[in-house]
């Protein structure tokens, strides 16, 4: 982990620093939610998170928040417009139900990263655990490493890019959403199939990788998506119910 104190922020305007060693998460979040938060400072630094839950969640302004350490559950949940960077690992449900903005995890993310997220960009530079992008509804997720089992389960819209491998049951019960995996897929979930990579897919992959600042060749990825076989009730299956 980086040194937590004494390093000057990169931004030219000094960051507002909140030390969770002496302030509560509630104090931090209330300050970030205050109507004048963006006027007081656009760059915030959070020190000593030590695995605390719900750090920097529910933001709605164009703020930039750097969290210097590991966080617990639901970090940057419900994010709108803000840019949140975790300089460490994130616990369960990072950026869950995000609407817009950018959340970047420099380390690994635990399960259910980006669950139900509607928009914005989530970058996990390390690995994401099980159920990454579960029920994703329009978010873009780029994972520098691998994802665990049941990733993009019941995904409805958005794009998931995995530069490493995917675990069992990728894209199970997928409605829509486009999945790109560079490495191996341990198994595909129900109704998830491999699909051809066309020019427009290479273009969108290049765009996503660039936005995520991850240097990979779009041509090295394979594409997976919904076979759309579960969309409608099939009378032939009536006996199975």
């Amino acid at each position: 982990m980086e040194a937590l104190t004494g390093t000057p922020p990169e931004a030219t305007v000094p960051a507002t620093v909140v030390d969770l060693g002496s302030s509560s998460v509630r104090d931090l979040n209330q300050a970030l939610h205050a109507p004048d938060a963006a006027l007081r400072a656009t760059h915030w630094r959070v020190l000593n998170p030590r695995g605390a839950h719900s750090v920097a969640c529910g933001l709605t302004e164009d703020l930039s928040v750097d969290i210097e350490g590991h966080v617990g559950y639901y970090c940057a949940g419900m994010n709108q417009r803000a840019t949140v960077a975790v300089h460490g690992n994130a616990g369960v449900g990072v950026a869950e139900n995000m609407m817009s903005g950018t959340v970047r995890v420099r380390g690994n993310a635990s399960q259910s990263a980006g669950a139900t997220a509607h928009g914005g960009l989530i970058v996990v530079e390390g690995d994401a655990a099980a159920r990454c992008g579960i029920s994703m509804k329009g978010v873009d997720i780029v994972v520098g490493g691998s994802v665990g089992h049941m990733s993009a389960f019941m995904g409805q819209a958005g794009r998931l890019v995995v530069c490493g491998d995917a675990g069992d049951g990728l894209g199970d019960s997928l409605y829509e959403a486009r999945l790109y995996v560079k490495g191996t897929v341990k198994s595909l979930g129900a109704d998830c199939v491999e699909k051809p990579v066309r020019e427009e897919h290479l273009a969108e992959l290049a765009e996503l990788l660039k936005a995520a600042e991850i240097d990979e060749d779009p041509a090295a990825f394979r594409r997976y998506g919904s076979a759309r076989g579960l969309y409608h009730f099939q009378v032939d299956n009536a006996g199975a119910y």
């Binding site: 982990m1 030590r50 695995g51 605390a52 590991h70 617990g72 559950y73 690992n89 616990g91 369960v92 690994n108 635990s110 399960q111 655990a129 099980a130 665990g148 089992h149």
Partner: protein, 295 residues
């Protein structure tokens, strides 16, 4: 929910700090299980002195235990730890257990061996840690659990760890679905149970296979094959520390490892209190993979 913490020390210089570190870890998982808590401490010189066997008991006050055992066993020492009475004497664990069974039939044995003391109670885990005197405990390995009961009553006996074999203990976050079936099968093979708790079935299953020659890794692989439901388990023995999760892995688990210690917890915040965690290798155990560290 339930919260799990465990610490397996590699660096003997840290042994005097085991209880202090375990107390701090337990305090970080209180919200995960505020109704009861328990700990297993391995190698404490007061709870499990060398050359003596130790038995941990519920429903037996220390003066009752001392009076009941005085004429049967030499040099009995008792220690009160909240609802638990820890008793040790310079005999084998089997002799001490037999004397307890004969003299204190109402007592529930919650731990036995030469290296482990188990302490349990109901109430706020921080208060329990204080009444166990946990911060002063020493040793080479410790396991703690905070319980949010789902499958059976909130009682000291329902608290974890479940320690049903010599120097063994198991803590569980989750719920087993087919525990009644497996309990019936084990009872048919002569295994006795103390409760209707699902986690006790897991502990009895592991102890049964260890007693029949399986090593810990094998016993936990068999558990994965046989048990349905949700589980993150931390299992400790007189020489090992092991972690396993079910195939879905929905119950959280993190392992951190340095040259000085191996630790496991439900959440990172419980690991954040450990010395040198900044440079630890931290990972989530894979589903149905058995991880074992040996002393």
């Amino acid at each position: 929910m339930c919260g799990i913490v465990g610490l397996h020390l590699r660096e003997p210089a840290l042994y005097p700090r085991l209880g202090e570190l375990l107390t701090a870890m337990l305090g970080q998982v209180v919200e995960r299980g505020p109704d009861s808590a328990g700990v297993a401490v391995y190698g404490d010189p007061k709870l499990t002195p060398p050359g003596r066997a130790t038995v941990s008991l519920l429903e037996a006050d220390s003066d009752v235990v001392e009076a009941a055992l005085r004429d049967r066993i030499p040099e009995v020492v008792t220690i009160t730890a909240d609802a638990t009475t820890v008793v040790h004497a310079p005999v084998t664990a089997d002799v001490l257990l037999a004397a307890v069974a004969a003299a204190l039939p109402q007592a529930t044995v919650i731990g036995s061996g030469t290296d482990v003391a188990v302490m349990k109670g109901t109430g706020h885990p921080d208060h329990l840690a204080a009444s166990f005197g946990l911060a002063r405990a020493q040793g080479w390995q410790g396991v703690g659990h905070t319980r949010m009961a789902t499958e059976s009553a909130v009682t000291p006996a329902g608290a974890h760890p479940f320690s049903v074999g010599p120097d063994q203990c198991l803590v569980h976050n989750g719920s087993f679905a087919n525990h009644a079936t497996i309990r019936r099968e084990l009872r048919a093979q002569g295994v006795a149970f103390d409760s209707e708790n699902d986690s006790e079935v897991g502990a009895r299953f592991v102890a049964h296979h260890l007693a029949h020659g399986a090593d810990l890794e094998k016993a936990l692989r068999l558990l994965c094959e046989r048990f349905d439901g949700f589980y993150t388990l931390l299992v400790a023995t007189g020489d090992s520390f092991a972690v396993v999760r079910d195939a879905i892995a929905c119950k959280p688990a993190l392992v951190a490892e340095t040259s000085a210690w191996v630790a496991m917890a439900s959440e990172y915040r419980a690991l954040s209190v450990l010395p040198g965690v900044e440079s630890a290798r931290i990972f989530e155990p894979e589903p149905e993979e058995v991880y074992v560290w040996k002393r």
